[in-house]
Amino acid sequence: MNINILFFGITSDFVGKSKVSYTINQKSTVKNLKKEITNLYPNLSNIKEFAIAVNEEYAHDDLILNDGDVVAIIPPVSGG
């Protein structure tokens, strides 16, 4: 199945783009995805942590992804 991944803040610099389409196994969890994208873009491990949002809501590691989900990589926020 396919998902869209959005990169924000420093992660968009690491990846060199702000959006990619990504193919992932059925029933993959957020945890699986984190591992896969960190392998794909190793410099993501240069930051201490990042959160994942699925369809504009913060997601737990055990959430199961669905086809067509919009997944955002959220490095530590710094608004205000």
Partner: protein, 141 residues
């Protein structure tokens, strides 16, 4: 029903009057505002500008959650949370929070709660530009 919250993420200049006009009411004994401003230095390095970017649709949702939570948690009347994105110069305003209530304590507490939570949960990022380089804030160990 009367709107109790005003939430905005915008590339336009923020307007304090917009925020206070939204929250003011005859039933209220006061309005507390927090105005975030761009500071000229970070750890002795001279800042030239801050560039704010956001996941805007999600930022609005998270700001709405903060406003709704503040209304549940504190006896306040209304709350406005406005955030700017784009390049801001020293002294310009990235964020305004305004809260009104019958008695002042609730507004002070709700305002502090709102800015503290915003800095933890709202997906907005700033890049500090210095005379000799630029750095994403909070992104390095």
């Amino acid at each position: 029903m009367d709107q109790k919250t005003s939430i905005k993420v915008t590339s336009e200049k923020l307007d304090l009057q917009d925020c206070t006009s939204f929250v003011e009411d005859e039933s209220c004994g006061g309005i507390v505002t927090f105005i975030g401003t761009v500071r000229n230095a970070t750890e002795n390095r001279t800042v030239t500008l801050l560039d704010f970017s956001g996941y805007e649709t999600m930022a609005v949702k998270e700001m709405q959650k903060i406003a709704d939570k503040a209304l549940q948690k504190f006896p306040i009347y209304k709350i406005a949370i406005h955030h700017a994105v784009g390049k801001l110069k020293i002294g310009e305003i990235p964020v305004i929070i305004a809260v009104s209530s019958a008695h002042r304590k609730a507004s002070f507490e709700a305002c502090e709660f709102a800015i503290d939570t915003l800095k933890e949960t709202v997906p907005i990022w700033k890049k500090e530009h210095f005379e000799d380089g630029e750095v994403w804030v909070n992104s390095h160990p």
